[in-house]
Amino acid sequence: MVGSSVDHSHRPGRIAFIPPRYGPDVVGGAEAVVAETAHGLAARGWQVDVLTTCAADHYTWANHYPAGETMDDEITLRRFPTVVNSPARDRDRIGGMILAGQDVPIQDQQLWMNDGLRVPELWHYVLDNSHRYRAIVVAPYMFWTSFCCGQIDPIKTIVMPCLHDEETAYLDLFQPLINGAAGIWFLSGPEEALAKRIFHLPLRTEVVGAGIEVPPAYDPQQFRADFRIDGQFVFFAGRREWGKGWTELLDAFAFAVSQGVDLKLVTAGVGDPTIPTHLTDRVIDIGFITDGQRNDAMAAATAYVQPSAMESFSRTVMEAWLAGTPVIANADSDVVSWHVERSEAGLTYRTPTELVECLRFVASQPEVAKKLAVSGRPYVLDNYEPTTVLDKMEASLLEWTKPVSVAGADSTEIPV
């Protein structure tokens, strides 16, 4: 049991975490938060199950991992096969209407939700077994797994919405999931403020944040040697896709290069980075890397760039600050702006031109930029050290949920 004052005897009952994907090949902030939390609570003595799909890729939802039960350290991991057997014509059509901000009738919202990934075996597992769990934690809000499984037993469901200010968040469809939950875990203050604007929140909500493991050491030189990178570079790690601001970053970086800014852009993660041929010597894709390599890259970088406006927490920003590296972030993300304003350990940009100027600044004034980052590490340690976050989660679990009786946990009877 790690760093908790809660006696083990006060943690009866199982906790189920339901992320859409789970595993070492999975890249995603919400999925990472769920994995950290599940492992953290298991290490403190909670019985933890992760109920998830067999998928690793959130584009195809193809079944990648075998279905069935395995152990992941102390966690019982149960995987269920995905079903993607509808033509997705409705999902594409209605999805277009949603993104365009059109008024979409509720029956179309329901079609949109169901005309894509579905996991009937998972849903029925939760239906059959929810009485055995003290709490069911679903995240993030917009996936079928959360939307559907989160409404089976709302009285014991905690939603970790990982909410962004995006069109889908405003759909009536999600009101019952959020409004009817036993409680909500938010990752940041701005996320909670956004949710208050959109939903009629339950009484029980808590800004818990996300726990960030502190690496014992960094080896930036090893990273440079391993990937043959010299000179100054800015770093971006994550999903290289339009929705995460990758294309805007690439455009602005190309413009900065054309303006004589002497930097490289190193990027890691999933998705196709589609680097233009004239930038192949300046943009370096190192693909999928280990957590250790990512930490070393953070330490080696002149700055970390977070171009996504759709962030509910932004773990990578925290990892950069832990490594003593300043952050350049998209100001359209209320959450990252909130972190930057509170920590004063980075810069935000509102336009591509401002991004170019940020890049020019870190390229020409790297030492000043490094000093800017000094307050970042204490900010992370004070707010997002795993023990602090897990303490908040445990406190709310104990307050919001009731232990299931031993008979209930072992029984197949549904308590009425």
Binding site: I106, Q107, N114, P154, D172, Q175, I414
Partner: protein, 445 residues
């Protein structure tokens, strides 16, 4: 034993889907190897687009893989996309094949009696299906008798199944907590109309009665949204919104309500008001029973069979009196002044009695005013569908329709919007006039 349940299903928000989920949960917990098939992609294991002949044929082909079928039977799912009597007969025939092949439980939620009464062929076909079914269930004695009469069955073949058999609470809290959660005043008498906003639910009747009572320290909350987008449903929702605007004590919470919030409202309310114009049986009544929340409901369909503790009302007058009792506003029903000498003719006295009582003996389906009567002739126009027994005529008409719909559709939408806007305006005006008349000082003698 492998069991297949055919039903609308979660995560769709639908009364029958919610009912089915609870039955699935109970049966699987009891050890049944039960899978679900729904007419749309959902949490069900399988889906087939039902409502037409092809869908039913696919179901028939699949049914043989199971030892038992359970069909949550209602017309929209079974016949929703048919246009001809021949198609309906084909579906009944496929169903007969299914019920012969596999023991089938038919959970009857609704049946269209009219085709059975008007066409002997449909009656024979339906009778065959019902006669072969392993089990037929309905929720109320009245439904049992009506179904038996329409399909030519012995009532003994039809089993009564308590509507609430599989129901369990989605949230448990006391009234104060529920009110705090919903932002309701802790000390008000709270009346609640909850469910999909549809004219047959009669929530407009509850609002009109409440407006006339205008009780102190009480509020009426209408909670829900339209089930699907349709001009008629939208028009009704707008009418409810306009009626609600007539009093700060009436609140329309037009939103999509989840199971937990639904139950929270039932726990927050002092009384649930369900002045249905028509209904088979009510899931709301069953959920209210879970929390012992008193119910005022119209004595229509099988409601009376659902609970002996419901306050049943037969007309607007009884509705208003029951609501008055529920909020402690009986005084509002009592004449405010002594009778004095005045008009002595029958019409005047009768009018004064009704005015003082603030009620009348109109049945729930009130006579329309002359203006409403004329408006009733302006039906909401559907887009024309080809209906013919000769397939080539249907195909030709369909082709013509496809070629011209881009021009006709906007005109139909515009005409329907104009009609509903006119209806809204008249309904609102009449409600305002009624309210003004009720509040008018008695004539000085």
């Amino acid at each position: 034993m492998r069991v297949l349940m055919v039903t609308p299903y979660a995560p769709y928000r639908d009364g029958i889907a919610a009912y089915a989920v609870q039955e699935v949960r109970r049966r699987r917990a009891a050890g049944e190897d039960l899978e679900v098939l729904s007419p749309f992609p959902s949490a069900a294991h399988h889906h087939i687009r039902l409502g037409g002949v092809a869908g039913m044929a696919k179901l028939a082909a699949m049914a043989g893989r199971y030892d038992r079928l359970v069909i949550q039977f209602f017309p929209e799912m079974i016949f929703g996309r048919t246009r001809t009597g021949a198609e309906r007969l084909a579906i009944w025939t496929a169903l007969a094949g299914i019920t012969k092949l596999v023991p089938t439980e038919l959970r009857i939620h609704e049946v269209q009696y009219q085709p059975m009464r008007e066409h002997a062929s449909e009656r024979r076909a339906a009778h065959r299906v019902f006669d072969q079914a392993a089990e037929i269930t309905v929720h109320t004695a009245q439904e049992r008798q009506e179904l038996a009469d329409a399909a030519g069955l012995s009532p003994m073949r039809i089993k009564l199944l308590d509507h609430g058999t599989n129901f369990a609470a989605h949230s448990r809290m006391d009234q104060a907590e529920a009110r705090s959660l919903l932002g309701l005043p802790p000390d008000d008498k709270v009346l609640l109309c909850i469910g999909f906003l549809q004219a047959h639910k009669g929530f407009d009747r509850a609002i009109q009665a409440f407006l006339r009572l205008d009780p102190d320290g009480a509020s009426l909350h209408v909670v829900g949204d339209v089930r699907v987008y349709h001009p008629e449903l939208e028009a009704h929702a707008r009418t409810l919104a306009m009626l609600a605007e007539l009093s700060p004590k009436v609140h329309l919470h037009r939103r999509f309500v989840g199971d937990a919030e639904f139950d929270t409202w039932l726990q927050a309310a002092d009384t649930v008001v369900l002045p249905y114009r028509e209904i088979w049986s009510s899931g709301v009544v069953e959920r209210a029973k879970l929390f012992e929340t008193p119910v005022i409901a119209a004595a229509v369909g099988g409601i009376a069979d659902q609970s002996s503790s419901i306050t049943l009302i037969k007309n607007d007058g009884e509705l208003m009196a029951a609501m008055a009792r529920a909020v402690g506003a009986e005084a509002a029903l009592v004449s405010e002044a002594e009778w004095t000498e005045g008009s002595s003719d029958y019409m005047s006295i009768q009018a004064e009695i009704r005015r003082r009582a603030r009620t009348d003996d109109r049945p729930l389906e009130a006579d329309p005013s002359p203006v409403q009567d004329r408006l009733a002739d302006l039906e909401v126009l559907p887009m024309p569908h080809p209906i013919s027994l000769k397939p080539w005529i249907n195909q030709t008409k369909s082709l013509i329709g496809r070629a011209t719909n881009w021009q006709i559709h906007p005109l139909v939408v515009n005409a329907n919007e104009s009609t509903t806007a006119l209806r809204d305006a008249i309904t609102l005006l009449e409600a305002r006039v009624a309210a003004l008349e009720d509040r008018r000082e008695p004539p000085q003698s």
